[in-house]
Amino acid sequence: MKPAAFDYIAPKTVEEVISLLTTHEDEAKILAGGQSLMPIMNFRLGRPGLLIDINGLDELDYIKQQDDHLLIGGLTRERTVERSPLVRDLCPLLSQAISFVGHTAIRNRGTVGGSLVHADPSGEIPTAFCALDGRVKAVGPDGERWIDPGEFFLTFLTTSLEPTELLVEVKVPVLPQGTGWSFMELSRRVGDFAIIGVATLLFMNGDGTCREARIALGGVAPTPFRAEEAEEVLAGQAIGEELISRAGELAGEAADAEDDYHASAEYRQEMAKIMVSRSLRQALARTGKGN
């Protein structure tokens, strides 16, 4: 189908966007990469009265390092981030997660900020963002604020951004040398939405024990989430097969999956356990401490 009629405006600055959002709060929608919004409009599942196209906001297209963080402009294309040597070196989990998003033509257009704001619970970028414990910077009429993943994702396709706020920047940590990382996904076909996405990180101590573990799951709850009980089992330990299985079990139990066309809740939960264990094995191997 074709989208219903709408007004269209393409501002050039963040200030203009905020002022438009403030004036047209209820009817306005931001158009970034459009890889989720355009299908929604083509299906007429969404009929925004005003489309604010932010593709002309060149100021939001960047990747830079600031101390032990990477700052990614809200409009930076997924493909740009995926291929960035800086991101591959300093935060490979993010590059890897993005490589699972749709296909090249989708990633050429889709943006990291847009994917977070869309908040699809099976989205790869939201899941990686949870594991990385990143932050998003939102700008609104009252200034800017930083939001963490737990606060940001509220439920299916819903974030805590105010209707007058724009996501302008994403901040993720530089992973210290020797950090184990892994992103894995279960899907029917290459490029499909994830049935389950799993992002894991293992921060290590000098003696080879795990200082801190992060396990994030997507596709098995209304939002991506951290399996904290499973993480706690690994913290401070020399990780082996037994702990990996235990963490997988706990992470799977933490899932709040629902049945849908692609998979039953039971299957998702069972596969979550298996995927978390596999992902932890891969992360461990990447620390250089695994076998």
């Binding site: 009629a5 709408f6 007004d7 269209y8 459009g34 355009m38 593709n55 033509a105 490029g191």
Partner: protein, 159 residues
């Protein structure tokens, strides 16, 4: 603002000017306004890949862009691939290796392969398979398509 907007863009090296309603999809603009019928409209939600074109050299779904967003852009559609009567090596390879049957997905296959081979001139079969996985073919299966991409890579390397 919902009224028609004037746009200027370059398609296959030719300057065009158009006046479009904001809701007009880029693919519909190409087909209906510019009468470039080589780009096919399939699913209209970004899944099938038939409408893939190059926007400033990068493969994009033209059903997921508005025509107004292409103002100032340079596009390549399937009509821009051949040099006159001389087929592009990718087109040659698809012809040679029976990489199409009904031809509906073919423009998307060709432009997707075009970007892919620019970025990865010596792909493995596995990489080629993944690269075209975003374009759905419902006739041939993919074996001949992959054969075609691999053959095109070979030819283009030797040019």
């Amino acid at each position: 603002m919902a009224q028609r907007q004037r746009i200027n863009l370059k398609v296959n090296g030719v300057e065009y000017e158009g006046e479009v309603e904001p809701r007009k999809l880029l693919v519909d603009f190409l087909r209906e306004d510019l009468e470039l019928l080589g780009t096919h409209v399939g699913c209209e939600h970004g899944v099938c890949g038939a409408c893939t074109i190059l926007l400033n050299g990068k493969a994009v779904r033209s059903c997921l862009m508005l025509a107004v967003q292409a103002d100032g852009a340079e596009l390549t559609t399937i009509e821009g691939l051949a040099q006159g009567a001389q087929l592009h090596p990718i087109q040659e390879a698809f012809h040679e290796h029976h990489g199409l049957q009904c031809g509906f997905c073919t423009p998307g296959m060709l432009l997707t392969s075009h970007e892919f081979l620019q970025e990865n001139p010596s792909p493995t079969r596995e990489e080629a398979k993944k690269a075209i996985s975003g374009v759905l073919c419902r006739c041939t299966g993919y074996k001949q398509v992959i054969d075609s991409v691999m053959a095109a890579a070979e030819t283009m390397k030797n040019e």
